[in-house]
Symmetry: C2
Subunit: 317 residues, 2 copies
Amino acid sequence: MNIDYKKAAELLKNCGNAYILIHQSPDGDCIGSGMTVYHILKSMGKKARILCSDDIPKRYSFITEDYIDEEFEPDSIISVDVADTNLLGKYKEQYGDKVDLCIDHHISNTLYAKNTLVCPDASAACEVLFEVLKEMDIIPDNRMAACIYTGIATDTGCFKYENASSRCHEIVASIKKYSDINYAQINRRLFDIKSRGQLKMESAVSDKMEYYLDGKCTMITVTLDLLESLNVDLGEIDGLAGIPLQYEDAEVGVTIKQRDENSYKISMRSANDVNVSDICASLGGGGHVKAAGCLIHGTLEEVKAKIVNAVEKGMKK
Amino acid sequence: MNIDYKKAAELLKNCGNAYILIHQSPDGDCIGSGMTVYHILKSMGKKARILCSDDIPKRYSFITEDYIDEEFEPDSIISVDVADTNLLGKYKEQYGDKVDLCIDHHISNTLYAKNTLVCPDASAACEVLFEVLKEMDIIPDNRMAACIYTGIATDTGCFKYENASSRCHEIVASIKKYSDINYAQINRRLFDIKSRGQLKMESAVSDKMEYYLDGKCTMITVTLDLLESLNVDLGEIDGLAGIPLQYEDAEVGVTIKQRDENSYKISMRSANDVNVSDICASLGGGGHVKAAGCLIHGTLEEVKAKIVNAVEKGMKK
């Protein structure tokens, strides 16, 4: 059942002790919204526990450091920023069909919960939670403010993307007004800092960036050989997909990651109007208009030729 | 004389045909605020002309494309985002002592103008201009909105820095509400895209980044040999100073640029609490607490040793 802010506020007030589910491969928005619900429940004297199928990256320790994990029998199951029960990973089987309240911002939400508050116009689940807090007459304290900010900043790319709406700036204006936190330091943690391995990997792939179709298609490649020679962890090669679009004339940025001798995972990003979802579909994959992917088999040279050919066709549309 | 928003609004209404002075090495804030004043004056049927000692980088063409340069005798001289007449460059002599109205946000403003509206709490001169527009009952149209946004986004590092105040988010919320512009595309132009030369230079210096003092001091170096071997323009090596602080444990990030055989220009940035103004002062330079610089003579090895020694002492304070 779809519910509104008021009903969600009421359910949170009356939920008893609760488990809070967030999605696998956790990011700033699900961690921020999970911790916001945690703080709300704890402030009402309830027990709360966050369940996530994967470990929380240490990058987010500044909002999870006051989290205390305790075991108890829950009265309610709440999920935040989880569009589909498949994203619950190892908790899907046990809790997938038992979620009492889901708070989310994905238009693709499958309405798996008994009660779902989904706001597709919101930049982040944390934005939705801010509105629920307002309904509850709670002004976010410093801890909640840090969580809500983290979610909104993460999902808008620090206010760079199209979803950085007027409303999301209004909310940030409000939480900055009523909190006393070093937001610049949060931004540095979320967006700027990298490990030595990441820095090595980024400069290695940038240095060998290839320019096709008059520079409109840029391409970086991570081979298994490169990974081995740089001796970096697989976790350190996330976040590369933004690099090819740094080139000023690039329309389509391609990141190729070798999986095994003859197969390559492709991430494709569009800077403006080219639909990379269509291009990846023509290569057997799919995704969003501005960010999509596919898997291609063949030698690296064959793979690159297939990609350039598909991008060229896609750009003519 | 220091004036308030109301008086500044009044002076703008009654200024006649005007020249608008912006600072040398123009950035998004002085160009954005200069163009905002230009649009205000043109909308009131006045002539307006922007004077800048340097060329406007093409990165900002999206807000200057409807500017038409015409010659006329000005009734008034207005300056925006200019803290000191030295920043007028080649226009200092002719107009430095003839400025009727200055609109600025630098606490260091020397009050050289007949009337000065300076708001040190404002993130950008464009933020001050938004308040003046409000006083004039003007709701920024799309063109003005793009200019004001560009100034605020530039000076706050896309809302990353400490000066991204509650008020600046409120203002952005307001201009996004009343305008219809692709802000994501503006952000890409302002913050993401780079030329091939910049990309080559960045990966070359990142690849050779050095880690001192347990990684708390990171250092990149641009030698004349490197510049020559990569064949990039001097203008393409701006913006490197942020690279050393990308390393997660870095407290002080140092960028060394060779000037001639035995002299090196140093830029120093602080991630948190280390005062790099003091450190650079101990090396004969100066600057701000979080961003400072100096010039050191000697061989590259000597220069690096001097820097590491000074940073080590500075970190102990």
